[in-house]
Symmetry: C2
Subunit: 198 residues, 2 copies
């Protein structure tokens, strides 16, 4: 076929995303230049990036989108593999922390950056985020069906709980005194008791 994309087109694209993720996490989005990403990919020109992405923001939005889709897929699977709602919560928390640790993505930073994008570009990302939150909300409702009576209580409680999970990024150190499994265990135990109290 003439004029067809190279077989390794998607691979190259993925390399860009991987290198960009590392650089964004270390230096932030604005302090990372296209030239830097290209160099990290061992390309000799920054114009090379533009063959795979229309602009710099697209690298960011693709990165966040792919990441959230992965999180949702893996968390869904982990949660679906157990029956008891207590076990589901544990699986949810643990799987989130595992992915955060594997990918070393600075989620609060990406989140903040995303919030500055034009509303139209935020839309699909917000939708994925909502999926993630709704997954957690479902588990919380199973754990404590009573709260469904009061309007919005389930949602607010879910958002409060989500903070415990998401904020972990800002302080957790894999080389610290606790493993992610232990932190996940403590978080789960706290949430289990706490969520029953409202």
């Amino acid at each position: 076929m003439v004029g067809v994309r190279a077989k390794d087109h998607d691979d190259k694209r993925q390399i860009i995303l991987d290198q960009a993720a590392t650089l964004f996490a270390r230096q932030g989005f604005h302090k990372t230049s296209i030239a830097q990403i290209a160099k990290a990919c061992k390309a000799s020109s920054k114009a090379w990036i533009y063959h795979y992405f229309p602009n710099k923001e697209a690298v960011l939005t693709t990165l966040i989108t792919d990441f959230l889709e992965l999180v949702i897929a893996r968390v869904s699977e982990a949660v679906g593999a157990v029956e008891a709602p207590q076990k589901k919560l544990q699986a949810f928390v643990l799987e989130c922390m595992r992915i955060y640790d594997e990918y070393r993505i600075n989620y609060p930073m990406l989140f903040a950056e995303m919030s500055l994008l034009p509303a139209e570009e935020q839309k699909p990302i917000r939708a994925l985020e909502r999926q993630w939150v709704m997954l957690l909300r479902g588990i919380i409702l199973e754990l404590n069906p009573g709260i469904s009576n009061r309007r919005h209580h389930a949602m607010v409680l879910t958002l409060i709980a989500s903070g415990s999970v998401n904020w972990t990024y800002t302080w957790f150190d894999p080389k610290g005194p606790m493993s992610q499994e232990e932190v996940a265990e403590m978080t789960t135990r706290m949430l289990l008791k706490g969520l029953a109290a409202v």
Copy 2:
């Protein structure tokens, strides 16, 4: 005295900080230019800013420092005004949310931006942050003295709890269905039960 600073020098400085806070919250640090801050202050030249701050980063670090000092002062006072540790936790959470609401500062964004600063400039800010965390840790230890046996447990539990409070920024809407008092109430109740479980 010849060559003394004008009486309103500190006022002007504060105006810069206030306008910068608003702009940073809305557009982020990097997308806000010195010229924009100057214009928001009704100054006719961006060089004017440099009479009050040595550079743009100093505006950011001063902003965060002042904010954290205010938070610590107000939260300390609120916590000190009550006796029971349960009341202290409630006061802590409520006061944090009140300040966040009053000042409309995007704390997670400022936090992320601060993390990219040179280590030396981060130091005093990290110290203030630690003060805030330690305040919360003290309350948690009062609530659950048992955890002091296991090393690091109190600190990790504190950090997990702090996530619930700090993440509120990213989702709380004053025009939403719940007031900050109600959210603070729910957060406190959840934490009270949850923290006892570890």
